[in-house]
Amino acid sequence: MDTLPATIASQHQALQQGEISAVELVEKTLQQINTKDSVLHAFLQTFPETALAQARALDQQGAVKDPHTPLAGIPIAIKDNICTTAGHTTAASKILAQFSSPFDATAITRLRQAGAVIIGKTNLDEFAMGSSTEYSAFGVTKNPWDVRRVAGGSSGGSTTAVAAGLSVAALGSDTGGSIRQPASFCGVVGLKPTYGRVSRHGLIAYGSSLDQIGPITRTVADAALLLQIIAGSDEYDATSSPTSVGNYHLTSPDLKGVKIGVPQEFFAEGTSASVAEVVHQAIKDLAGLGASIVEISLPLTSAATAVYFLIAKAEASTNLARFDGLRYAGQKTPSEDLLHHYLIHRGQGFGPEVKRSILMGSYALSAGYADAWYKQASKVRTLIRQEYEAIFKQVDLIAGPTAPETAFTIGSKSNDPLAMYLSDALTVPMSVAGIPSVSVPCGFAKDLPVGLQLTAPAFGETKLLQVASVYEQIHNWWHKVPK
């Protein structure tokens, strides 16, 4: 077998039919990574020894024939802010350069129980704060469609790995768009589940009321399979939902009777004309399959960016207070006393965006300013949640572009934090509202991928993935691969 099958479904079939063993699949995956990743830098670490040991055990047990291990032998890449007992978990930060987790995140445990092989950890913006993966302390990840451009962020390593065929699937995390936006930039599928759908146990926290782990894959069917495995309540995450996990197995209905709302605010002046054109065509395609398209308005969309960043940075300033540089920092600088140690190690161990984020968050929470900033943001958050609840009484799903633009060039926004924040303008509202949202490839603008973002009400992943899958099968954009 020369080329690796491109999807979980096709790799699973090849394993079941004995065309390839789990060990061979891991070896070929590692070869791909070794060949291409020196240019792309999607991976921070790979685990050849543990991955091969896992694969060998699966081959010996004949696990690929066991329906209880639906992912048997499938190599999966993991964003490096998700704890794995293998290797290090650095969150792409110097302050955790030497941290080795004593436990696996619940999502990892569930993947392993299903037979998946953990192939390595992928690059991200430091502590998941960013929209390009340029803020990683360990170098930027390139976009495989044009290596002068960013992969997007913060899950850029995971989306590049999947888009470039280095890993058939990956996990990412999404706080304000960190799965969806890079999925859009890299031309892959990226899903942010409903808040509480997937356990956050073992995910290094950024914004605790916003974070979710989610799948990054070539096809919607693969994303549905991964969600099926990682979703569900977890006694180690008190915010995980007791709502029962749906059956995400996809059938192929047409879209008759499905009402899809298109918000005018998603096509306002911030959205590039070339992206708008591609997405409008995708929406016409949805109508062609029987969906009724309704023009809607979500007036609080422009406020969502401010609401998101004030809440996320406030929560982050608390979440990052635990990092003291006492145990796991890569560099050790001599210090006089404990306070001096904290100042230096946190000052040097965190990058500029993380430090700026902690400042902004602390400021928004501080006495005299908390009412005007954090409390007001939290109240407007309630209004945004209500706005989405009301609109879902009129429509089943919402459609629009995932990002206002295609992948930008490396360096073009890294000195302009506000511009970087605004590239998330179309993904942050769903995070604020806690509702599920998926980015699906819908074409190209000037040879760069464009993502269609579909959004459903809370716990509406079944219909969300059904419609996304039906759309995907019109063009199968995922067949096109970067050179």
Partner: protein, 97 residues
């Protein structure tokens, strides 16, 4: 335009235990001012009688029985092994006093 003076940045940096150089302080002040002046739009939104959203799940008082589950506990050996500096089966850190 909200004024985030370098003095406020210094205070918050100190409370957050972050060392900044003088140049970093003035850069942070100007970038934060730019960002926050864009965010002032939320202060124009009417929110009288609107509740805050601290609770986003609707869940309350999630309990579990307080018993140790040995199969999920990490051994002392594992924890120490993963730490760069130890002394007599303790983590070694700087003196607090």
């Amino acid at each position: 335009m909200p004024i985030i003076s370098p003095k406020i940045i210094e205070q918050i940096a100190s409370l957050s235990r972050l060392k900044f150089t003088k140049q970093e302080i003035s850069q942070a002040a100007s970038k934060l001012a730019q960002i926050l002046s864009h965010f002032t739009l939320i202060q124009k939104i009417e929110t009288t009688n609107v509740p805050t959203s601290e609770d986003v799940t609707g869940l309350t008082n999630i309990w579990r029985t307080d018993i140790a589950q040995p199969q999920k506990l990490c051994s002392t050996d594992t924890l120490l092994q993963k730490s760069p500096a130890t002394h007599q089966r303790h983590f070694k850190v700087k003196a607090v006093f």
